[in-house]
């Protein structure tokens, strides 16, 4: 939810006196009409993620990459997502928060020190086409708002693929690098929309290709989705995804 709207609704709240599975997504608790607040003490990643297996994983049927190494959120307080101008996020993402941020490919369970925070990398498979960072942070009992996420994965191709684009959607702003080069930047108060921003055409190497991403969020949900598109705009699915 847009935090400004949240605040707006909060302001007015003081004045207040007062068939399953039809599609692929069925709300699990939509029949709840009692208005009670659910206890949030039992937090977990279950429901959104599974631990990444050692076996190879392919993109989903639409080409979305679901296997990612996710670093626990770095605290980066922002009361609004409207501050995420291009200049702001470039500065935010070019800052080194932990050693080897841009050079070392992380390992599962590896810990890094970001300022006073000790943070751990988690290799996970998302159950959805997108990676729900809010749920990642929430499930681990970490900060959910005013945070910066780092993520990485390895895309393996059995052949060189030319004229490929990386297509990204993110909530909120984000920046992405492929094999060490900047590929896509999504500035502003963004909602996650598939194929929102795409990179220029590039060549996907035969063998390993490293994707890094950084996503920043003030208040509200945070998530991202990434896939590759060929020169005809069709998803590239002939890939395997690994975390090492």
């Amino acid at each position: 939810m847009n935090m400004r709207r949240q605040i707006y609704l909060l302001a007015i709240s003081f004045l207040i006196c007062g068939g399953p599975g039809l599609q692929g997504y069925s709300a699990t608790s939509g029949s709840n009409v009692d208005g009670k607040v659910k206890s949030d003490t039992a937090r977990s990643l279950e429901g959104y993620f599974t631990p990444a297996a050692s076996s190879a994983k392919r993109p989903d049927p639409e080409g979305f990459i679901q296997r990612w190494l996710l670093l626990e959120p770095i605290s980066k307080p922002n009361r609004s997502n409207t501050v995420f101008t291009d200049s702001y996020i470039r500065k935010a993402f070019e800052t080194e928060y932990f050693p080897g941020q841009f050079t070392v490919f992380p390992k599962d369970r590896q810990k890094v020190k970001a300022g006073t925070q000790e943070l751990m990398w988690h290799s996970l498979d998302s159950k959805d086409f997108n990676v729900k960072l809010y749920r990642f942070a929430y499930g681990l009992g970490k900060e959910t708002y005013g945070v910066l996420f780092w993520t990485a994965t390895i895309v393996n191709s059995t052949r060189e693929l030319r004229n490929v684009r990386m297509a990204v959607g993110s909530n909120s702003a984000s920046m992405w690098w492929l094999n060490g080069k900047e590929a896509v930047i999504l500035s502003g108060d963004r909602r996650m929309v598939m194929d929102d921003c795409v990179s220029k055409s590039f060549t996907l190497n035969r063998g390993k290709n490293v994707i890094r991403g950084a996503i920043i969020n003030g208040p509200g949900m945070s998530d991202f989705c990434v896939r590759f598109l060929d020169e005809k705009g069709q998803p590239v699915k002939d890939l395997t995804i690994s975390y090492e």
Binding site: I7, S13, Q23, A27, S29, G30, T82, G169
Partner: protein
């Protein structure tokens, strides 16, 4: 189509139309109503001038209203609104026989909860939108915001309560203020995207996806599911207003549809959030906001033949004729002045002059200046206009015999006032406020290529449609 350079747009209503998250505008007892976040709402006698006065108990956020039978069903969200970003919301519905707080029948039923969110799940139960499916009479409600999914539940149209055993269906993400509509075999899901509640910096905009089934999937024009963030733009900022949100559809008749919304900021009104009413157009099966009529000087072109409305006066030739052949092409070229009003007006009769349709030649007798008449009031989405020959007071008027004439000076009588509605195909309907000695609802038509008249409106006939062209 209105083809011109936009110099100024009346994009919001007059009076004190200050509101946020308005419900779909609805008519009751000859007046128009909309309710917003907080308590209360706006009332309009004519659909153009809006002021506070609506009464809705329960407070909360972003209501919607639907007439079912002879009653009005009101849905609203009682958001948790917790300081820490709580998302435990509730959607409630209640009934009233009338929306007029002065009516003796004005009494809301006790509100009942029809959906909720527990503060943890991927949904925040606010922003309800109602649809009574015209194909089978089933009642649906969508709700939700950026915190997770937009959900759809079914209500009982007799009670307004949740259908027993009904399970919510996720139909979209990353939008809010959703509502549904049905047209020509398609269900449309409208959602508001972008940043809310940031005044002139609000990026709110309205997007749409469509489905053959009420439960989705709702896909946009490039096939993206709204569950993956898809959505085709219906309306964004423009003119001097930013952040349109909270779509509502109003069908006034075949081919005449309006959409209501709020603008996050009207820069001509201290940047306040105001009610907006615009034409709703349909292009290739997709809804898109039309533009409210812009005052200016235009050719009034018939959709039938493409001829232009003009005074029935003698054609005055411009000097010169065909330049002929065998001239020296190396001679310097120079502009030829257009014919001016003073070149011809003395040839015109001084009394009433008939009108007709003819080839447009950008001559003075074909140029019509159209301006709002503020003291004349308006209709849903617009003010009444006068239509005069440019540079004169000579005004187009309806006659008692379903004809047209121009009078030497505009006097403000009802037959000289015109309603202009953009139709769903982008053309315009032009309608006198009244026809002398008649209660007929006539519009400007072209029964012959060269002959204008007044007759009943028929959306299927190009005789009834007009374009405004600025040259």
């Amino acid at each position: 189509m209105l083809l011109c350079c936009l110099t100024g747009i009346a994009t919001s209503q007059v009076g004190k139309p200050f509101i946020h998250d308005p419900s779909t505008i609805i008519e009751c007892g000859g007046k128009y109503y909309t309710f917003g976040t907080g308590s209360g709402g706006l009332i309009s006698e004519d659909g153009w001038t809006w002021n506070s006065g609506g009464v809705r108990p329960g407070g909360g956020a972003a209501p919607d209203v639907l007439k079912i039978g002879d009653r009005y069903l009101i849905a609203y969200g009682a958001t948790g609104g917790g300081l820490g970003g709580g998302h435990n919301g509730r959607i409630l519905t209640m009934w009233n026989k009338t929306l007029d707080p002065k009516s003796p029948d004005f009494m809301y039923s006790e509100a009942v909860v029809v959906a909720s969110s527990d503060g943890v799940e991927d949904c925040d139960a606010i922003d309800p939108g109602l649809l009574l499916d015209p194909t089978d009479g089933r009642l649906w409600l969508s709700y939700g915001t950026y915190f997770g999914f937009i959900r759809l539940v079914e209500l009982d149209p007799k009670t307004g309560k949740r259908v027993e055993g009904n399970e919510a269906v996720n139909i979209a993400i990353d939008c809010e203020a959703t509502t549904l509509m049905y047209r020509d075999g398609w269900y449309y899901l409208l959602g508001t995207h972008g940043t809310c509640c940031d005044g002139a910096n609000s990026t709110y905009n309205i997007v749409v996806g469509r489905s053959r089934k009420i439960t989705g999937p709702y896909l946009d024009n490039v096939g993206r599911d709204m569950l993956k963030g898809g959505g085709k733009m219906v309306v964004a900022a423009g003119g001097r207003v930013t952040g349109p949100g909270h779509f509502g559809r109003i069908v006034l008749g075949e081919g005449i549809e309006k959409m209501s919304c709020h603008y996050e900021a009207d820069l001509d009104r201290s940047g306040r959030s105001v009610l907006g009413i615009r034409p709703l157009l349909w292009k290739n099966g997709w809804p898109v906001a039309g533009d409210n009529f812009v005052e200016g000087t235009y050719e009034i072109e018939s959709e039938r033949r493409g001829y232009a409305l003009e005074l029935a006066v003698d054609f005055v030739r411009m000097p010169g004729g065909m330049r002929g052949f065998n001239h020296n092409n190396d001679e310097p070229v120079k502009p030829v002045p257009s014919q001016k009003l003073e070149d011809v007006i003395k040839t015109w009769p001084t009394g009433n002059i008939d009108v007709r349709l003819g080839d447009y030649m950008f001559r003075p007798h074909q140029k019509w200046t159209i301006a709002a008449v503020p003291e004349a009031g308006g209709y849903l989405g617009g003010p009444y206009y006068k239509i005069v020959i440019e540079g004169t007071g000579r005004a187009l008027a309806a006659t008692a015999d379903a004809g047209l004439i121009t009078v030497p000076e505009f006097t403000g009588t009802a037959e000289q006032l015109w309603r202009i509605d953009q139709l769903t195909d982008g053309t315009y309907r032009i309608m006198p406020k009244s026809v002398p000695n008649s209660s007929q609802k006539f519009v400007l038509v072209s029964p012959g290529d060269s002959t204008p008249a007044l007759a009943g409106f028929n959306m299927q006939s190009d005789n009834c449609k007009w374009n405004f062209r600025a040259h």
